[in-house]
Amino acid sequence: MVEQRPWLTVFSHAVLIAGILVVGFPLYVTFVASTRSLEDILSVPMPLLPGDRLWENYSQVLAAGTTKGVGAPVGRMMLNSLVMALAIACGKIAISIVASFAIVFFRFPLRNFFFWMIFVTLMLPVEVRIIPTFKVVSDLGMINSYVGLTLPLIASATATFLFRQFFLSVPEELAEAARIDGAGPMRFFRDVVLPLSKTSIAALFVIQFIYGWNQYLWPLLITTDESMYTAVIGIKRMIVAGDALTEWNLVMATAMLALLPPAAVVLLMQRWFVKGLVETEK
């Protein structure tokens, strides 16, 4: 703060509080709905204070799902989401870090070609090549499997660029010193590069975990078997036509369950996450 302007400070707090309330309102209503009975929700206007059905609603969806729409237990969907998110986050980080290590610390023919190949994938999001990608995956027999859910999403231009940018900032002296000491490239990778990359890895992990957990279009195509649904797909399948037919209390409990894990990752790893973002900016 540069100078004292009490009114401006009050105004700033007011804007922030208003922002938080507006941003938080949908979540609050969702939470309230997830603690109420269906009758409460259908009685217009819905009460805006939490009810007493928290335990019943959550235990029902976790163990048994809804009675209309999809009947698969949400517990299973959460597990699928977790597997998918972890596999995508770890897979992306692993293949990107070694690829950018090769691109920065080696000189080899086709190096730039590979780099541009990875770069171009930025321009080919799943959404624009839905059907051919689906065909490839189904030809490989990967429908309704964890491999089919995760492997096609593991290539990452973003992660490769972040690591590349970070490696370029690693002082050359470190590599020189390692070489003089007789360390091979993989030794250098393990003992110098990996420890230095911790913050970038943590930041990427948060981003990619959320990316994986929140995938929608891909699991929608790849999972036809209820037992392979992810939590996000499950919610969509629980909403049946018409406001009054949907069991909103259960849908909202599922929505809370589906958004809690990624939100927890962001909030618990917040310091690393923001630090990582700011550091990659230099």
């Binding site: 090549r129 070489r179 490239p185 919610i235 969509k236 909403i239 009054a244 990624p262 900016e281």
Partner: protein, 313 residues
């Protein structure tokens, strides 16, 4: 060089600088670097390039209703698309949607970040309470807003009825558009907020203090110093938000309006999915995919050039 989070874009737009940075010559091995890039390249080839090539191939074919016979038709699918009023309408819908989402998300986030940068007390708490929507899936965000705006039981629908607004997005296209814009922008605010906040905090305090000593008030300082220095961040966010609105909002649309009513919220990506998966029109959908790819590539190229010239670092 301040590359911004758009390091990606600096890489492409500033080759000279990169060449200078890349003078290091370090390890040599005949096979190791290839082994290291192999996994990434293999996945890229199988799940990105091959399907992209196939999309190009399918886009020039016509399939009969049972998918048994195909016929090469050249560019007929493309010609049919551009003669199709629905497709042209989807273009307009996408343009309106992405501009509204990007503008809303960026404006709100900038306001919040500028105020959050100013307060000292409670700064961390404010940040924590503003960043969590980043973690919400687009489809879940869609469901949350769908519930608030549900025509018969929604809380906001009820409040709107109280002030005399008849809300039924199932029938009114503009209201459906407003609903998906709100849900999509809401989710993106926290992302924009974080990047603006990081950008604001990297502005040297001495610049602001010097301006304050010279008698510039907060508003003047913001528009003459802070905002120009934020322009790389703002531009990066504009790019990201447009791409987000184009592609990542599929979940928002599918979970709420499913493109309706009467195509009022049918963005291009949704139409690719709808025609290809629901309508089983392989040729038409692939032609749309090819057009979308062209749009993405064109956008990226234009942005590189623009970034290089206009935005100061």
């Amino acid at each position: 060089m301040r590359c911004g989070v758009g390091t990606i874009f600096c890489v492409a737009s500033k080759p000279q600088i990169n060449r200078r940075v890349e003078k290091r010559v370090v390890f040599r091995s005949a096979w190791l670097p290839y082994a290291l890039v192999a996994p990434q390249i293999a996945i890229t080839l199988v799940f990105f390039f091959w399907p992209a090539v196939q999309a190009g191939w399918y886009s020039m074919q016509l399939q009969d209703a049972f998918g048994e016979r195909t016929q090469f038709v050249g560019l007929a699918n493309f010609a049919a698309l551009f003669a199709d009023a629905n497709y042209l309408y989807a273009f307009r819908v996408t343009a309106v949607f992405s501009v509204l989402v990007a503008a809303t998300g960026i404006a709100v986030a900038l306001l919040l970040a500028a105020t959050a940068d100013r307060v000292i007390r409670g700064a961390l708490a404010y940040r924590t309470l503003l960043i969590w929507p980043y973690a919400v899936a687009p489809a879940v965000a869609g469901v949350l807003w769908l519930f608030l705006f549900a025509p018969s039981i929604g809380v906001i629908t009820f409040a709107l009825r109280g002030v005399g607004v008849h809300w039924d997005w199932l029938l009114q296209g503009d209201q459906a558009m407003l609903l998906v814009v709100l849900a999509a922008a809401w989710k993106q605010i926290s992302y924009n907020f974080l990047f603006f906040l990081a950008g604001l905090q990297s502005i040297p305090r001495s610049l602001i203090e010097a301006a304050a000593i010279d008698g510039a008030g907060p508003g003047r300082r913001f528009w003459t110093i802070v905002f120009p220095l934020l322009s790389p961040t703002a531009f990066f966010l504009l790019v990201v938000n447009m791409v987000y609105a184009f592609f990542d909002t599929f979940g928002v649309i599918d979970a709420t309006t499913q493109g309706g009513p009467a195509g009022a919220t049918q963005i291009l990506v949704y139409k690719v999915y709808y025609d290809g998966v629901k309508g089983a029109d392989l040729g038409g959908s692939s032609a749309q995919s090819v057009i979308l790819m062209a749009i993405v590539i064109a956008l990226t190229v234009v942005q590189f050039r623009y970034v290089e010239r206009k935005v100061q670092y």
